[in-house]
Structure formats: C-alpha cells, structure tokens
Amino acid sequence: MSSQVSVAARPASPEGPPPATLATRLVDHPNIVLTGVLVLLILVTGAIEPDYLSISGLRNTLLLAAPLGIMAAGQTILMLTGGIDLSVAMIATGAAYVAGNQSSSGAAIAIAAGLLVGLLAGSANGVGVGVFNVNPLIMTLAMAAILLGLFTAWTQTWLQGSTAVAPFIKELGGGSFFGNRVPYNVIVWIGVTLAVVGVLRRTGLGRLIYAIGDNAVAVRLAGVRTWQVTIVVYAFAGVLAAIAGILLAGRTGAVDLQLASTFLLPSVAAAVIGGTSIFGGVGTYTGTVLGALILSVLNSMLTFLDAGQAVQQMIYGSIVLALAWAYARVVGAR
C-alpha cells in the first residue's frame, strides 16, 4: 500500500518536498498536540467549575505549575543525559528548611544558603554517578534517604523551630503583581526557562548533554571528560530543585518534612509527557513546560471533582499513563 503511494507521489517531488498534511505536521511537532491537550483540559475544568476560567483560577494553576516546572527542568536535563534524580523532592525540602533557618539574616543570605544545599547534594549525586559509575536510580534514592535522615535529625537540633519563612520569600513564592493577576514565581520560572533552553540550544554544554544521552561511549572516545559533564548537570539539577523548594516554602508560608514529597513523581511525569526520553538524547524543555502545565491543570480539575483522595490518585495515574502512551504512539508513527 505505502509503496504504491510513494510511486504515485514521485513525479511531483522535483518541485519540492511533498505537501505536509495536517497529520505529518502534528507528528513532527508534538508540542502542538500537547498544547491542544492543555487547552482541552482547561476547557473541561472550566465546564466542571465555571469560576476556574477566570484570572484568579488560572493564576492558582500557574502558582502550582511554577515549582513543578522548575523541578522538572532539572529532571529534563538529567533525563537527556540518560540519568534521573529521585532525590529532587528531598533536596527541595532541605533547601526550604535551610532558607527558613537563615531567614533572620536577610532574604539574600537565606536564598543563597538554600541554593547551597541543592548545589552540595546535587554535586554529590554527580560524583557518585559520574566518577564511581553508581546507577543513578540507586544513587539518588539513597541520597533521598540520607537527606531525609539528616533533616529529620536536624529539625530537632540546629534547624529547630525554623519553620517560618522570610517575608521576601513569601512574596516571591506566593504573591502576585499586576493587580494580583500574575504570580511572582512565574517570573522565576520564565528566567529558569530562558536559561535552560539557552543552555540546551546554544552552548557546547547543551550539545554535550544531548550527545551523552545519545551515545556516551562515542562521546568519551571523542575526548570529552564525560564525568565532568555529569557532575555539572547533577549539580545544576540540585540547584533547580532548591529554587523550587524555596518557592514552595514561600507559597505555603511554612516548612515541613513533607513539603515537596508530592512533587517527585510529577517532576518525572512532566518531562515524560513533554516528550523527553528516559533513555536520553531526545527531548526539549518547552515540552516539559507544557507537561508541567497539563499536570497542574489536571490537579485543579481533580480538586474540583471532589472525588476523594483515592479516586483522585487513580484518575491522575491513569491520565499520566494515557498521555505517555499516546505520546509514544504519535512519536512512533514518525
């Protein structure tokens, strides 16, 4: 069947490539499909709860989406290299704790201290994976366990009572401007997006990230010290998780050990829905941004449905699975 079609099309080819049908265009640009899914979900949510289709409703979704999107940025970069970080939620929580602890010495120092937590934990992950060849799944799971143990112990000692958050961080994570329409944390998210997209598209490091995910052995044989790249990307992912944690602390206004735990699986899911391959080498951050928005709208929708936590979890998991499946089919048709 298909060979006949191509024979029939051959005479037309000297004039240029065959005209792109709508279907092939959608397959080549999965982000269009994702945007369609996003709009559809927003409309469905609006049908369930008419108040949602308003400035404040969408603002709440953005407020949720920004920390998730930032955490998923680190996850995307790591997945592009063929890695994964299952300690992002604990890194975020730890960063939020330390930032809360340093609140009395000013917002700048508090934020810097929080980011330092992400940098240290991320670098440790990178050394384990890059230098010692520990499987990333094991390395980051163990890191999450270590951080949970450390911070549980520290909340009874030097971090005791540091659950309050500096006013500036509160404003950054939960406040909004422009007549209470645009949350401040979206500004941070836009900054992160520009930085991540810029690094991935325009820099040598970005090209190395894709190349390592595609074929790490070839990259090493070409003379690249891949372990250095690995350490840098894990450290970067740690810092991004720390930023997300500080924003989360600002939004809730208080810190506890479960602060970011619900964000771990969505951070992976956002990247996967957005088309990043878990085996590395394929994917974009713009896809992940759409994935994070889709998951946040889905979250709002399930809250409005008011179906109880059990049913919410089942629907959430089913939709994530369906989206990943649909994406695999669309890309597989290429």
């Binding site: 994964i84 384990g128 010692f132 060849n133 520990v134 499987n135 799944l137 094991i138 390395m139 799971l141 163990a142 890191m143 999450a144 366990a145 270590i146 949970l148 143990g149 450390l150 549980t152 112990a153 735990s261 699986l265 992976v268 899911a269 996967v272 391959s277 878990i278 085996f279 936590q309 059990a310 049913v311 919410q312 979890q313 089942m314 629907i315 959430y316 998991g317 089913s318 994530v320 699975l321 990943a324 499946w325 695999a328 089919r329 597989g332």
Partner: protein, 346 residues
C-alpha cells in the same frame, strides 16, 4: 544456615583441599563470587550482632527472620522483573494493596477462610501486574514510566479498599508466616522455612525451566532472544505476573507481622526503594539478564538487619537511616570501581 557454612568453607582454600577439586572451587568462586560474598557478609553480621547485644537467642533470630520477610519477597519479585529487562517502581504499592485487601477480607474470619483470601490476593496481584506488563509491552512506553504511573493507580486503589488503617487476620495465618499467633515469639523456623522455600522455588524456576531461562535471555538481549524464538510479550507479562504474585506474598507477610492493614502510600514508596537497593546490592544488574535471586535475598535480609544492628550500636533512627544510605552508596561505589578496573584489565 547450612548453606552459609558451606559457602564459608568454599571461600577457604585450605578446606578445598584436593588438587582435582581446586579448579571447580575456583570456578564456583568466580561465577558466584558476589552471591557468596553477600551471604558471608550476612553471616558475619549475625555473629557480630550476637556480640553487640546482651542476650542473643531464638527470640532475636525469629524477629530478624520474620521482619525481613516482606523485603525478601519484594526483592525476589523485583529481581525476576529486572532480570527480564524491566524495573517495577510500583512493587511497594502492590504490597500495600495486597496487605489492605487481605486485612479487609480476612478480618474476623477463621483460618481456612483467611488462607483462601491469601491465595486469592496472590492471584489478584499476579493478574494486576501481568496487565501492567502487557501495557508496558503494548504501549512501548519505558517500564519505569508505566510503573511510576501505575504506582499512583495502585496506591489509590489501596486507599479506596481501606481508607484508614485497620482490618485484621486470623491467628493461624499469623503463625504461618511468623511462627507465633501474636506475630512475635521464640519460634524462628516458620519464617526461615518460608524464606528458604520461596527463594529455592524462584531460583529453580529461573534457572531450570524454559520460561525462566527465556526471561534471562530477553533481559540480556531482547533482539537475540526474539530471533531465537522467545515471545517478547509472553516474557514481559510472565515476569510482571511473577513479580506481582511475590508482591502479594510480601503484603500477606506484612499483615501476618503487624496484624492489620495500613494503606499509606509512603510505606509502599519506601519498600520500592529498598527492593531496588536489595537486588542491586545482591549482584543483579539493572540493565537485565545478569545476577541471581539468591544473592538478592541475602542483601534484602542485610538491608533489614542493619536497623537492629544500628540501634544496638545506640544510633538514633535518623542517624541510622543516614548510615544505611551512605553504606549503600559506598558499596555501589566500590562495585563501580571494581567493574571499571575489570574492564581496563580486559
């Protein structure tokens, strides 16, 4: 225990003795070095632990054996799935689902009824996870992503079956796994027999049956396995179904130990982490096709056993958790360095 002493002997060249035998001993050591090492480590830890606490007797043995049961079952299940080239991040959630279904339907029932429910739970979990395997095969979405999504669905289902901790089981059912009708006692034989029998059965199925060997083949090179006539869909579904059944056994062991069901998802997430850590420490490669479940079982017992050891050394639970994480990383780093040296030497 006799296997441990046998393996201790094999590591000692003096015992190997006669010259014609020495080559086969060495071959055994090279082929199963990691597995033997893990069992030797477990034996050393038990000896060391017995000197750490004031009295070491049958009560401590029973406590270690029965409390490591859930993780042993999970490690066996994860091992089968990973050997066949997958990985299951929902295995802890399945354990929670199995334990709450059991807790709800075994409550206030006589022993025979609880036994029937137990068999039903294992079959149910095998079917659920077999379906997950079928989804992995059909959708061509990576295992890790599918099981991440199904872990939400399964923990939601667990919460739906039993919204808050509760339920119960019969005394006889508890005795079957723990050796005591109250879940803790002096009789250490039932849990040890359960561990030995289930490990032997899974190891024999994997090594001696056509199905088991096909799982190794698919995990090591799925294209080559497919070309030599192994059905990929069938092996995917089989490995996930076996993993699900073993997760069901882990759930049954949990309810036998605690006597009631707990639907919290965090229990499952933690159990998944430990199952993956156990199989990797036990010498099974996450890339598939390599390793033995015998080593994974020893590593699972060690992972649980670290808790009483560290608390006997007067560490508080949080510090113990940190030490446990650091130990896992250090062991994996050493393994990574050995692997690199071996590759350079070749």
């Amino acid at each position: 225990m006799s296997t441990v002493t046998d393996e201790l002997a094999t590591s000692d060249p003096a015992v190997a003795g006669a010259i014609p035998h020495s080559r086969s001993w060495r071959r055994l050591l090279v082929r199963h070095g990691w597995t033997i090492g893990v069992w030797v480590l477990l034996a050393l830890l038990i000896v060391w632990y017995s000197t750490l606490i004031p009295s070491f007797g049958s009560f401590q043995m029973a406590s270690i054996a029965k409390n490591s049961l859930p993780l042993v079952f999970l490690a066996l299940g994860q091992a089968v799935i990973v050997i066949a080239g997958g990985v299951d991040l929902s295995i802890g959630a399945q354990m929670v689902l199995a334990s709450v279904v059991a807790a709800r339907y075994m409550d206030e029932q006589p022993f025979a009824a609880t036994l029937a429910v137990g068999v039903g739970v294992v079959i149910l979990l095998a079917m659920v996870n077999g379906t997950v395997g079928l989804i992995v095969y059909t959708s061509k979405v990576p295992d890790i992503v599918v099981t991440l999504a199904t872990s939400f669905i399964i923990s939601g289902a667990a919460l739906w079956v039993l919204p808050s901790p509760g339920g119960g089981t019969s005394a006889g059912f508890r005795a079957m796994f723990t050796g005591s009708e109250f879940g803790s006692g002096e009789n250490f034989w039932p849990p040890i027999v359960v561990i030995a029998v289930s490990t032997t059965v899974v190891a024999l199925v994997l090594r001696r049956t056509r199905t088991g060997l096909s799982l190794y083949a698919v995990g090591s090179d799925s294209t080559a396995a497919y070309l030599s006539g192994v059905g990929l869909r069938r092996s995917k579904v089989t490995s996930y179904a076996i993993g699900g059944a073993l997760a069901g056994m882990a759930g049954l062991a949990t309810i036998a130990i605690t006597g009631s069901g707990d639907p919290r998802a965090s229990v499952g997430a933690n159990a998944t982490l430990n199952s993956v850590a156990a199989i990797v420490l036990g010498g099974i490669a996450l890339t598939g096709g390599v390793g033995s479940v015998v080593g994974a079982v020893a590593a699972a017992i060690i992972l649980f056993f670290l808790n009483p050891i560290l608390s006997a050394m007067k560490f508080d639970p949080n510090t113990a958790q940190v030490i446990q994480g650091v130990l896992i990383i250090v062991v994996m780093m050493i393994a990574g360095l050995l692997e690199r040296r071996r590759r350079r030497a070749e």
